[in-house]
């Protein structure tokens, strides 16, 4: 047998770059309805096929098929549609606000609405969510007012975070939404800790965490899986594989030869890969994982297979690194259009109602936006008093911060 005389370094590259015509046939997507549904106390090994496969419920004709069909009533389906639409309308409005200079920064979750909205409808309101910056849908589905989010985005006088945080890095304890960090991955193991505390206290609450496929390369991701497995923490670990981490394809994060869901199997607990653009599938798998956690069977890793339709953020220009029409060619479609199609097939929805709902949500967002902008926007104010920046560094302000606070006040008086 002949051998290569020298070693070679493999560098993963994205399949498609600007100028290429994306062809997603290589994904070999399984059909809706074929994935088996094990009991919620399943061992990791029983979820092997699910970790490498793809749970899909809504078929190409819009019907719900297979053992994962959550059999939701039309009321719940319409609720899901409404929240996903509201998330999208809100995102579009805030993106525009950034372009108008009212906020320096925004991040949309377009195409990934189901990932957060469907799970929010499964969770109880007091289950704590440790989200990433792309799960605004959680707050929206928990009926947290978009007005409050806008105040944070504009850093105005009603920004509960007092102008300290980057827009979209919310914290809403009241809605079971943990303070967002700008550092990727750090909160994933914290969710496990929160879940462990709940178990320690013999409480009934569970935790849920979200991470991007890109950030799942961080050590924190693997530590979260270790602790979740070791202590059978009542936590749902979600991973949104939207194919991109800014300009890097999911292959760079380690998805070239395997799935992200399969990571869990190696750690000893179930991993399930789900069509993240299929509201019913995300709902069903989330419910499975929640039931498992609530019954002391431990964690689940859910890989939401989806696509980041929007730019990474308002600072990003994806036309530099991916084909402009890649999303149009994405074989798993748009979560809103797919749920709408399903509802229409059931005879529970029609175009007229859709148009009316759209108009209603746009008006709702517009009203909230006008009200929020009146209270101040980035660059123009009014804001909180800058002296508040010295608060909350510690519970009690030490002498040196009091001195610095006084010094700032002095300079602000002198400022021409």
């Amino acid at each position: 047998m002949k051998h290569d005389s020298s070693l070679r370094l493999h560098i993963p590259e994205s399949r498609f770059r600007p100028g290429d015509v994306p062809d997603f046939n290589y994904l070999n997507l399984p059909k809706a309805g074929v994935a088996k549904r094990p009991k919620t106390d399943a061992k990791a090994s029983e979820t092997r096929d699910l970790a490498y496969g793809l749970v899909r419920v809504i078929d190409d004709a819009g019907a719900a098929v297979g053992p994962w069909d959550p059999k939701l009533d039309p009321e719940t389906l319409r609720k899901g549609l409404r929240y996903m639409l509201l998330t999208r309308v809100f995102d579009d409005r805030m993106f525009k606000a950034q372009r108008q200079g009212k906020t320096p920064f925004y991040m949309k979750c377009t195409g990934e609405e189901a990932v957060s909205v469907a799970q929010a409808l499964v969770l109880n309101r007091d289950d704590m969510c440790f989200a990433s910056y792309r799960q605004q849908g959680l707050l929206i589905a928990r009926d947290w007012p978009v007005f409050d989010l806008m105040c944070q985005i504009y850093s105005n006088t009603l920004d509960r975070l007092k102008g300290r945080q980057l827009p979209v890095l919310y914290s809403v304890r009241e809605a079971g939404f943990f303070s967002l960090s700008g550092n990727l991955g750090t909160q994933y193991p914290q969710a496990v800790g929160w879940a462990m505390a709940s178990a320690y206290k013999r409480d009934t609450k569970i935790a849920a965490a979200w991470i991007g496929e890109g950030a799942s390369a961080e050590g924190d991701f693997h530590q979260a899986l270790t602790f979740a497995a070791v202590y059978r923490a009542p936590v749902i670990l979600n991973l949104s594989n939207n194919q991109w981490a800014i300009s890097s394809s999911q292959g760079v994060a380690g998805g070239e030869e395997t799935t992200f869901a399969s990571r869990a199997v190696g750690f000893g607990f179930p991993g399930i890969r789900v069509d993240g653009n299929d509201f019913l599938a995300v709902y069903a798998v989330s419910r499975w994982a929640a039931e498992r956690a609530r019954n002391n069977h431990g964690p689940t890793l859910i890989e939401h297979f989806t696509y980041r339709a929007a730019p990474h953020s308002t600072s990003d220009d994806p036309s530099r690194y991916r084909p402009g029409d890649e999303y149009q060619r994405w074989p798993l479609g748009d979560p809103i259009i797919r749920l709408k199609g399903h509802l229409m097939r059931l005879g529970e929805w029609d175009e007229a109602r859709h148009t009316a709902l759209m108009a209603e949500l746009e008006a709702e967002v517009d009203t909230a936006n006008k009200k929020a902008q009146k209270l101040g926007v980035h660059g123009g104010g009014p804001y909180h008093d800058p002296s508040t920046m010295f608060e909350d560094v510690y519970k009690e302000m030490p002498w040196h911060l009091r001195e610095q606070q006084a010094e700032l006040a002095l300079f602000r008086e002198k400022k021409p």
Binding site: L9, I11, P12, E13, S14, R17, P104, F105, S155, D159, K162, G163, R164, Q165, L166, L169, S181, G182, N183, L184, G185, G214, A215, A217, E218, G219, D220, A245, I246, S247, S248, V252, A253, G254, S315, R320, Y321, H378, Y383, H384, P386, M389, F390, V393, H400, L401, Q404, L408, F411, R412, K414, K415
Partner: protein, 332 residues
């Protein structure tokens, strides 16, 4: 400054086949700040490539490559995201030479944009240099202009010890003196904005005189060099401004020489104050120049809080605060 840094890496990739570059988004895309733009296209995917988002892994892998004999240059997307790699830098890169009695070393360069000025909030604005100057075995370099950036980065890559190379992101596009209300300037008109095409190196450990003067010495680096220049002009005080460039190793002769001449010393940095690099500078000056000092040494720094996003300019130690300190020292 972006082009200057790009040129430094271009030069080194061309000169030395053992130089390679990786980090988040640095490959096809050319980096979120465009600093590695075109390098993958020129030198291929084997030499310039994207890394998984795992800073600890990136630095650890670089150490392994460096021990083999390569000269990896890692881009950490923001200095704020270097902390996952803290252990690899502090316990490993910094001590490899020492613990192996010179058998192994880690000739790695870690580039990271630092500092405020772009409304990035607490996770896109930090100045963590003091955490690393505190660690023996690491070198820390911070340029203040394109000419220096290129020459210093080339030296950093050629250096046989691990070098942290912090790039003042607010200076990427042009000089910035803290007057945020003024129109943005580019480097085009700046004396140090012109960057020769080929190879040149500026030795690590050598400060530069940004302004000669007799009345007091201002120790600065990075963005704060420009702030100090503006504050000096506004006060009319004949200050001597040292651009330290290299925080470790530190040009002690330049510092003592200047302070002995002027008898007064002001230290400025954007990083938080307590236990910051300024404290080390202040101690050095006090220990070595005490009998020359005619006034207490003062520090102007960022406040001891995280960088509050909307209050960027209330936080940033701008020319107003620096000028006030200059006056105070001159009165002392």
């Amino acid at each position: 400054m972006v082009e200057a840094l790009n040129s430094a890496m271009d030069v080194m990739l061309a000169r030395d086949p053992d130089v390679l570059i990786f980090g988040e988004d640095v490959g096809f895309f050319g980096g979120v700040f465009r600093v590695t733009d075109g390098l993958q296209q020129r030198y291929g995917e084997q030499r310039v490539f994207d890394a998984p988002i795992a800073e600890s892994g990136q630095i650890a892998v670089a150490i392994g490559m460096g021990a083999y004999g390569l000269r990896p240059v890692v881009e950490c997307q923001f200095a704020d995201y270097i902390y996952p790699a803290f252990d690899q830098l502090v316990s490993e890169a910094a001590r490899l030479r020492y613990r192996s009695a010179g058998e192994f070393n880690a000739p790695i360069t870690v580039r990271a944009p630092y500092g405020g000025g772009i409304f990035g909030g607490q996770t896109h604005s930090q100045s963590p240099e003091g955490l690393f100057t505190h660690v023996c075995g690491l070198k820390t370099v911070i340029p203040s202009n394109p000419y220096d950036a290129k020459g210093l980065l080339i030296s950093a890559i050629e250096d046989d010890d691990p070098v942290l190379f912090f790039e003042p992101k607010r200076l990427y596009a042009g000089p910035f003196d803290g007057h945020y209300e003024k129109p943005v300037e580019t480097w085009a008109k700046h004396a140090a904005g012109e960057v020769p095409v080929g190879y040149y190196a500026i030795p690590l450990g050598k400060a530069a005189v940004a302004r000669q003067g007799e009345a007091l010495t201002i120790l600065a680096y990075g963005t704060m060099v420009h702030v100090a220049l503006a504050a000096t002009a506004e006060t009319g005080v004949d200050a001597e401004i040292l651009d330290l460039r290299s925080l470790m190793p530190i040009d002690i002769e330049a510092i003592t020489g200047s302070v002995e001449k002027t008898g007064r010393c002001l230290i400025v940095h954007e990083a938080t104050r307590t236990s910051g690099y300024g404290a080390e500078l202040s101690a050095l000056v006090q220990e070595r120049c005490f009998y020359h000092l005619e006034a207490p040494i003062l520090r102007v720094t960022g406040w001891d809080t995280p960088y509050p996003r909307e209050f960027e300019w209330e936080y940033f130690p701008g020319p107003l605060r620096v000028a006030e300190a200059i006056r105070k020292i001159m009165a002392g």
